[in-house]
């Protein structure tokens, strides 16, 4: 696999030659927004501000999240008033939380990635003090990834039954290939129980392209550079 491609790089289209007679679309990025972000948060960002297509991206650690988000929401130069999305991501090595913001001042989407959350106890501050609509999104992230948003008043499971014990969207949660067993026969939903890092057995997980066969399955310690999202920096 080698070192994974860096995310910010603007790669030429694979199909530029044969796609269509129309010339390739020039990615629209807001340079002014990138400059303002760099000036404002230079010390708090983990990597440089990157942009691709119509999305500007910054990566922060969980410690800096509250200050960065409140500044983005409140400052007159940003005014990112609308939380477009809140998503959890499991890179196979660490967990991330990805925020997408919209501002009337910028043609770009802003993507804020809170990176480097350890798998065994991922904790980060909640943003419900800015957008109380983020409450259910954080509940969903907790339900699917086990992310703990400190400050969310109602951090319950929202999709799975309350007695469900693992987090389905983690990479160590394997989908069963045979659907023969079913709750109808008194069997609980098929799942691979969530294993913490220090527990003995480290489950197989997919961090590299897998076609379903065991060829693609590796152990988390071995790779990690292979996947685009860890990108070398793990934790702040």
């Amino acid at each position: 696999m080698g070192s994974g491609p860096t995310v910010g790089s603007d790669r030429p289209s694979l199909l530029a030659s044969d796609a269509s007679p129309v010339p390739e679309r020039i990615p629209v990025t807001d340079i002014a927004l990138q400059r303002r972000l760099t000036e404002r948060f230079s010390t708090q960002l983990l990597t440089a501000v990157s942009a691709r297509h119509d999305t500007t991206e910054i990566i922060v650690g969980p410690g800096e999240l509250v200050s960065v988000m409140s500044a983005l929401h409140d400052d007159a130069e940003f005014r990112f008033e609308l939380l477009a999305d809140l998503a959890g991501v499991d890179t196979g090595v660490v967990l991330q939380v990805v925020y997408h913001l919209w501002s009337p001042l910028s043609p770009d989407w802003l993507r804020v990635i809170c990176d480097g959350l350890p798998r065994d106890d991922p904790r980060l501050p909640s943003v419900t003090f800015l957008w109380n609509g983020a409450e259910w999104a954080e509940r969903e992230a907790y339900d699917m990834f086990g992310l703990i948003f400190e400050g969310n008043r109602d951090l319950r499971r929202i999709y799975m039954p309350p007695d469900y014990q693992s987090f389905p969207l983690r990479k160590d949660f394997l989908m069963p290939d045979d659907a023969s067993r079913s709750p109808g026969q008194g069997v609980r939903p098929i799942e691979v129980a969530f294993q913490t890092a220090e527990s003995g057995r480290v489950p197989l997980m997919r961090v590299s392209p897998g076609t379903g066969s065991l060829a693609g399955w590796t152990r988390p310690g071995e790779v990690g550079a292979g996947d685009p999202d860890s990108g070398g920096q793990v934790g702040p």
């Binding site: 400050g151 951090l155 799975m160 709750p183 913490t196």
Partner: protein, 236 residues
Amino acid sequence: MEVTPPGTPEADAGTGTAVLDAPVPTGASPIIVPNTQWLSADQTAYNGGKPPTITHLAELELEEKGDNGRWGMLDVVPTTADYLLDYLRMNSLWPLLSGLACCAMEMMSAATSVNDMDRFNMFPFRASPRQADVLIVAGTLSTKMAGPLIRLWEQMPEPKWCVAMGDCTCSGGRYKRSYATVQGIDRVMPVDVYVPGCPPRPEGLIYGMLKLQQLILERRGQWADRRVGPTVPAGV
């Protein structure tokens, strides 16, 4: 058998009530509560290990006599009367107003002006299970919904019939491999007529209901033994 995990309000009650340090469960120690999803309210129904007490055929099922000789000396007259009764039931099927997912749209469309189920007296849709005859399970059945669906089925008075509408209810369909769905409702409840399709057109549902009418008439007052599992009735 309630286990209160560390981190819940009981365990460390009296912690600060400020929003930011609210007591939140930890990701590593999952919440364990008694299973309430799979125990329906009536413990003796279906998976309770005891014979069902809902249908008035329970006693016969205990004696494993099936429907043979249930009339005793009055064999001729009641059977004829049941033939008449079944003719009435066949021509007045009130479905339960309950849709689970996508197929519910086509179920409603089957009842509306374009293709009118009311012509066959399959109307009105009753809102209360106490007054419904047919349970049209339309849409994917998730493991969380299975318990309530079983209880709905228990609440319907005999004689009652179940129509599985759509691939998801027949076999799991396109979500068969999911971790949260039941692979076919016949694993948790009896089914009389299967209507495949993703989703079936309203004409398909009406055809299935007509098949159900034929089935009711052919049973001649003898209801199928409510065994959970694929039961494709004879003669249909």
